[in-house]
Symmetry: C2
Subunit: 159 residues, 2 copies
DNA sequence: CTTGAGATCAAGAATTATTCCAAATAAAAA
DNA sequence: TTTTTATTTGGAATAATTCTTGATCTCAAG
């Protein structure tokens, strides 16, 4: 819940030419103009764009930004824990700013990815039992199937 | 448990030169010599090799086999449901012949992947609740962390 | 205000896993 | 056997991502 929007750490956030903005560290890294753009782009739509899609969107705001930089920003922010990297099979990584524990549902009909909340606490039951003594850093749950909307459409057709 | 070893469908299974073996379809595809080799290689060790690793192992048995063929075989067999493709992040896909529902645990210390059984039945609780009306075809659960062995070693050192 | 150190950005080359292609070969069907 | 179809192969092509290198930027010290 209470999680400071990291871009608030950026003073002087108007335009991208005017007087050079003053930067300010956020956590362990500098919230530069390009990083802010990338982050804002991710926050703007709650979908799961690939790096190239982020790149395209970022160019609207900052035409000079480079793909390499977008990759850099995404990696930095992923490490910093501001965004999550989502992988479905071996397709291009996707990124999302949803920080709550969640799984991803990939619809093979409309190719959209949606979030599915995960309820993980010491008490909730899981369908797996970990080997004694293992330490878990990351858990990734991804599902592939047909989303409710598409499923409805499919059933409709076959009537 | 009772799951016919698919290579048993191959008559004349000795050597790979002798008189041309007689082939026989298995399910929907031909169990060719190279497919048998790839499958046997996977069954031989219960680890999670990448396509290149499978390729290397397969060459011991059939020196002339090509990487493209290994990829083809793995894809065919994955579709046929004989092997599972395992993806961890965007690293090279790995393959395993464990057909039971299971998750994968990737140890960031020893880089080994191990299987974690999944108990999925209509009755078992899951930490997620699916959107009403969705149809699930595949579920992939993968974890990253430190396996019991490495964890023990780590704790040992820090004492 | 200038300078130095270190971080970040950018453009393109390089890498890596994987797929595609077209020709050769092998297996199944006739 | 002959024909038909599937499979194998080696190499080229692709796509996402990483690497490299020099330019640029920020912060803090002088």
């Amino acid at each position: 819940m209470s999680h400071l929007n990291p871009t608030e750490a950026l003073r002087d956030s108007d335009g991208d030419q005017a007087g050079a903005p003053t930067y300010s560290g956020f956590g362990d890294f500098r919230m530069t103009r390009q990083r802010k753009v990338v982050y804002d782009v991710l926050m703007a739509e709650r979908d799961h764009p690939t790096a190239s899609e982020v790149f395209l969107r970022a160019k609207h705001v900052m035409p000079g930004i480079s793909l390499a930089t977008v990759y850099n920003c995404l990696e930095t922010m992923t490490h910093a824990g501001l965004v999550k990297q989502v992988n479905v099979d071996r397709e291009a990584s996707r990124y999302c700013p949803n920080l709550r524990p969640h799984a991803h549902f990939y619809c093979s009909e409309c190719q959209e990815i949606s979030d599915v909340d995960l309820h993980l606490s010491a008490s909730t039951a899981t369908p797996w039992s970990l080997p004694e003594g293992a330490k878990i850093d990351h858990l990734e749950v991804s599902m592939k199937g047909v989303c409710p909307d598409c499923q409805a459409r499919v059933l409709e057709k076959s009537r």
